[in-house]
């Protein structure tokens, strides 16, 4: 389809990569301290960080996955985006300010604040690494699908090469720029993404005389599902089981967002709690605008390109937005949209790599292995080595998951975050008696139950669309485990605490509560 114009696409993309690499290089400070590498010296303003937050969060899953899910499944695809907007209220009211006040670099800082340091930090790092890897694999799979379309690469080997290139570039961002460089990449990417989706939206809705209703009308004619595509139930309405799957997914989306490690880590790049709050306010506005636009783009793709053409294109559902761009603006717009989508993937993966490496270096290396006695230069060196290892793992995983719907894969990462992190964070912030044992039970209980349920779900084996379609060990009927593993983790944390273990330290609890609300003792202004 685009074979002749590969050059245009590639050059738009190449310019973006070179430009951002240059900015990353300029932004990176020569003398990198641990605080620079992990938290950009806490030097960003709330506004900048808010935009970067939306950049970190709006992944390929949102742009390609959601618009594709809407274009093919209509209403059921739209559900994803609602959960992702509403979820920010949890981040705003319950998490962001307290996290900024009590921690320094990682999620482990907060979870281990009033607990025994080593086991809790190790657990927090394990959760961070597993979640980040899952999320990254999803992004890399998206990169493969996108490139299939953009460069007309149909062979699996060609796509694998592309996934590897993405992995290498993002590791470069992290190694060269640290948090500061990565944050600037997020800001540039978020602005580009929001601008291009809003312009595309205005253009689309203008094409239908600014009448959303008539656009939907046209969309229903181009979908094999007809009117039904506007109602709930196309994808999840078939049986009672699929309805529970739908609720499970909705829960994971709303509870997972504010506990994703790379989102949490963003709150450390601002100087104080008030700026952290301001960043969530900005991010929420960006989300609201973005997902409203995606709704129009999704149905626009259904109306103008048609669901059938999208499902049969290389890249499948993920190709709805690029195909729409080609339809309305030819190769130039296709090139721009693909470059933006690509930038999105690069930036998100870079943010994840940074988070994973920080978590390993700061929590596991510095505090568990070295008992907190290490110099910052060593810690940063370890973080960089980890970033490379994480990059390699993500490339391998991405190649294996190539071809899956990105939004679906990402939803699994959300289920993991909601199961392993959210209960632990909420308990340690709001429940006085919560102790070390409760913390470990809720992290590991949530994490392992969630991973096991995913392994034995239809997402991995037993059905046409699974990762291994030829074998069947799917004992668990739901493809999203959230509805089981999230309550299980809350329960595990509760039981672990009330059934014994050492008593919570009241002095530490007082310090955490006072510090969380006021910032006293944190050295922040």
């Amino acid at each position: 389809m685009t074979g002749a114009n590969t050059a245009i696409n590639l050059s738009v993309f190449g310019i973006f990569v070179l430009l951002t690499l240059y900015i990353v290089y300029r932004a990176s400070t020569r003398n990198v301290s641990a605080s620079d590498y992990y938290a950009a010296g806490s030097s960003f303003t709330g506004t900048q960080n808010g935009i970067a937050l939306s950049g970190d969060f709006l992944s390929a899953a949102s742009f390609l996955g959601i618009s594709g899910a809407i274009a093919v499944n209509g209403y059921d695809g739209f559900m994803y985006s609602i959960g992702w907007v509403v979820a920010w209220l949890i981040g705003l009211m319950l998490i962001s300010e307290r996290l900024r006040n009590t921690g320094r670099f990682t999620m482990g800082d907060v979870m281990a604040f009033r607990m025994r340091q080593r086991p809790v930090r190790a657990a927090a790092a394990n959760a961070t690494l597993v979640i980040s890897l899952f999320y990254m694999i999803a992004q890399m799979a998206g990169a493969g699908g996108l490139m299939a379309l953009l460069l007309d690469v149909h062979s699996k080997v060609g796509q694998a090469v592309i996934i590897a290139v993405v992995g290498i570039v993002m590791v470069l961002y992290v190694l060269v720029g640290g948090m500061k460089g990565t944050t600037w990449v997020q800001i540039i990417k978020a602005v580009l993404l929001i601008l291009s989706v809003s312009m595309l939206t205005i253009f689309l809705i203008g094409k239908f005389g600014f009448d959303f209703s008539s656009m939907l009308d046209r969309a229903t004619q181009r979908s094999p599902l007809g009117e039904a595509v506007l109602s709930p139930g196309v994808k999840y309405g078939a049986s009672d089981l699929s309805k529970i799957d739908f609720i499970s997914l909705a829960l994971a989306l709303v509870l997972g967002t504010a506990s994703l490690p790379h989102v949490l880590m963003r709150f450390y790049t601002v100087p104080n709690a008030r700026e952290a709050r301001k960043s969530v306010v900005w991010a929420t506005w960006m989300m609201a605008i973005f997902y409203s636009c995606i709704l129009v783009i999704g149905f626009g793709a259904m109306a103008l390109v048609g669901s059938d053409k999208i499902t049969s294109a290389p890249g499948g559902e993920n190709s709805a937005a690029p195909l729409l761009a080609f339809q309305v603006g030819g190769t130039v717009l296709l090139g721009i949209v693909c470059a933006v989508a690509f930038a999105t993937i690069l930036a998100v993966v870079a943010g994840l790599t940074l988070t994973a490496s920080a978590s390993f270096a700061h929590d596991v290396y510095a505090n568990v292995i070295k008992h907190g006695e290490t110099n910052p230069a060593d810690e940063v060196r370890v973080a960089r080595i980890t970033a490379v290892c994480v990059g390699v793992l993500a490339i391998v995983g991405g190649i294996a998951a190539n071809g899956q719907n990105v939004a679906f894969l990402v939803a699994l990462a959300f289920a993991l975050a909601a199961s392993a992190n959210l209960p632990t964070l909420l308990y340690s912030l709001f429940w006085k008696r919560f102790n070390t044992r409760g913390t470990l039970w809720s992290i590991y209980g949530g994490l392992t139950s969630c991973v096991l349920l995913i392994v034995f779900s239809p997402a991995i084996s037993g059905s046409k669309s699974s990762m291994f379609p030829d074998v069947d060990f799917a004992f668990f009927p739901l493809s999203n485990p959230g509805i089981v593993s999230i309550p299980l983790s809350f329960l595990a944390g509760f039981l672990g605490t009330v059934l014994g273990g050492e008593k919570a330290d009241p002095a530490k609890q007082a310090e955490m509560e006072v510090r969380g609300l006021t910032g006293i003792g944190s050295g922040l202004r």
């Binding site: 739209f78 949890i90 319950l94 309805k243 739908f246 609720i247 306010v281 609201a288």
Partner: protein, 136 residues
């Protein structure tokens, strides 16, 4: 909950008296570190906690209930959700869009409430431990 105690539970070092500041005892322990136990039970901090709870608790319950309602209706009342409202736009799509709108409303309300009711109270609590040098 611990019992309400007078704002200073253990002997705290007296703060430096200044001319323009009303003299109150700073909640700082012998080493010059903040006395968190004493702050936690101080009236100003308890008031801050009450103010935080007054907004966050109802707001969280409200938005979660509203979201869950939307999800449950989508799953089990597909007929109702597909009733057309404006042209082809049905109840479900409208309700989904309203979720975005309410999220923005709650976000802005919280930002406003924080600025007016929480931040000044946080400053009050922080004043309990701020020594004169830090204020300078």
């Amino acid at each position: 909950m611990t019992k309400a105690l007078p704002s200073v539970s253990r002997p705290a070092t007296p703060g430096f008296a200044t001319f323009d500041e009303p003299s109150h005892s700073l909640l700082i322990d012998g080493d010059g570190e903040p006395d968190f136990g004493a702050i936690q039970t101080s009236d100003d901090f308890l008031d801050l906690k009450r103010r935080v709870k007054r907004f966050i608790l109802p707001a969280t319950v409200l938005f979660l209930a509203w979201y869950v309602t939307f999800v449950l209706l989508s799953a089990y009342a597909a007929g109702f959700m597909s009733t057309p409202l404006f042209g082809t736009v049905n109840v479900g799509l409208t309700m989904g869009f309203l979720q975005i709108v309410t999220t923005i409303i709650i976000t802005m309300a919280y930002a406003r409430y924080s600025k007016r009711k929480l931040d000044p109270q946080v400053d009050k609590v922080r004043a309990l431990v701020e020594t004169d040098e830090e204020l300078a």
